[in-house]
Subunit: 180 residues, 4 copies
């Protein structure tokens, strides 16, 4: 498992985004579990139109080409995904196929996030990725990360681990088959 590379895509560029701390908590958790990861920050791309060829997209494409899977951390805005996340995901078709994706949704309320996960499942399947069934829904986002940078709730951390384990299971199974 130690040689899998699973980048973590932070899917919002909104000022004051709470998803950033949650992405960092996920990255720490992945490293504890000997997964290689790297933060892909949607704010580094600044696309304004589908099909734009922004500076930096080469780097995004290289990371996705090297990836064995992906974790997406994103807030739910009006029951859907942030526009900036969609612009980035739509910018490349070459490297997604048959790789698993784990979904982490963020909501400042008590309900929410589950709708976004459904929309991201449809989007990532269209991109030929494999969204794993367990997803992490972070509600009450302000209280979600403790001072030490970990997820404040042990039960939430356990869901994160279950999701990551499923991503790893699929990453290994599909990497093996892609190489066959």
């Amino acid at each position: 498992m130690s040689d899998l590379f699973i980048p973590t895509l932070l899917g919002t560029a909104r000022k004051g985004r709470r998803s950033a701390a949650i992405a960092e908590a996920l990255i720490d958790l992945m490293k504890q579990r000997s997964l290689m990861t790297d933060l892909i920050d949607v704010a580094d791309y600044r696309l304004t139109a589908t099909g734009d060829d922004a500076a930096g997209l080469d780097r995004y494409r290289e990371l996705m080409a090297a990836a064995d899977g992906l974790v997406i951390v994103a807030p739910e805005y009006n029951h859907g995904y942030p526009g900036e996340l969609k612009l980035l995901l739509d910018s490349d078709f070459s490297a997604y196929a048959r790789k698993p994706v784990g979904l982490v949704t963020v909501s400042s309320g008590r309900i929410g996030g589950a709708r976004l996960a459904e929309q991201l499942r449809l989007l990532t399947t269209a991109l030929r990725m494999v969204p794993v069934s367990p997803a992490l829904h972070v509600v009450d986002a302000e209280q979600a990360v403790a001072e030490d940078g970990r997820l404040a709730s042990p039960s939430l951390e356990q869901v994160a681990i279950d999701m990551l384990d499923e991503v790893v299971w699929f990453a290994e199974a599909l990497a093996h088959a892609r190489a066959a």
Copy 2:
């Protein structure tokens, strides 16, 4: 019906976008039916992050505040909406409530567009708008607009008229009730 204002939102900024000619055909059709409309072009806004306060958003907000309803013309990208359209729709919450919206989806293939309409129904309902049930799905987009600028298929034009009639029916019913 002649005093209803229903702007037409062109929801893609992609180079070579075929939706532009389709939006123009819709605008012509609306004018023939004595509806006031105006093109809102997502390419005029160039947002890069949710919550950005781009130049021009005041104009968008004024148009939406004055609107009795909305027509959205957008292509389906990877089973969902263009990111630039989501960025614009998410930029304002003040003026959507209880106004109808008619959906026009554009696809270069034979299948497609229907998935986008479903996602736009969920998004616009989250924005408290009322998506009308009839929707116009333009497939084979290259052949969809004739040299005179009208929709090339009479049956497609009829669907457009049915959709517009439903938008008008709701615009009148809801404008009356909002004013009560």
Copy 3:
């Protein structure tokens, strides 16, 4: 508002269904607010195939024809609607158009229900109904109804009232326009 008829459709026939008590709580709340309602229990129909003409469907059709709107109370099963609810809603096309529908989802966990609401929005829009934007998501269903039969949480009851007010607003606006 006192002459509006808004039946309440209980959308599961599963043994031990917790949604039944929640439907009763909604019915009490509607009566307090001078709304006429009636329980439509999906368990009374026992359809096994789309298009079946079961005994009792005439009664369902009469109730829907008389209705000014609808409230649906249903649990989320595997992120979607109960099959028995779909069979009943699909059994009739004549009486739904341009009537509002309010959605109450029920989940035994903390997450859930929001996905069902999205699917019911798409389904009811296909049926030409108007799903209102506010929805009531009842989580932790076992604790949701107090001994007196009311929703145990005052904040949940307030959401129910907001949803009902929106159904009433649309029921009046659309009934007026349908009669014009």
Copy 4:
């Protein structure tokens, strides 16, 4: 590939269902490609409520337990799945996990089916299955099957083959990993 067992689930019990001939065409195509399959006909179960323990469910559970994957053939009713299909899929949780599913949607019109595929992707992911990205959308269902029982359109048959190849690729990859 010759020892994979991929049953074909016919997901409507409606009288005059056109999906039956399409399911048969798929079964023939699978056999030509040395896949073992078997028809699972939702009409054989006649469930009326979620959680019902109908006669015959043991047989369904055995087939699903033995399956390496699944093909679902179903018509789109009001933008969603048939209620009888949902009742059957919801009746068992034990045997779906980490198995691929290929989707064949049937519509009597020109648009349609794509919405159903999206809903089935969400449903089967909730069941922990892996919906493959290519899907077969059969429109104009009356003309879809030729007199010899094959899909009338060669291009449609090619899409069917692409979908089946993807199901097989995943069935092998995941069977191998489940056994590891």
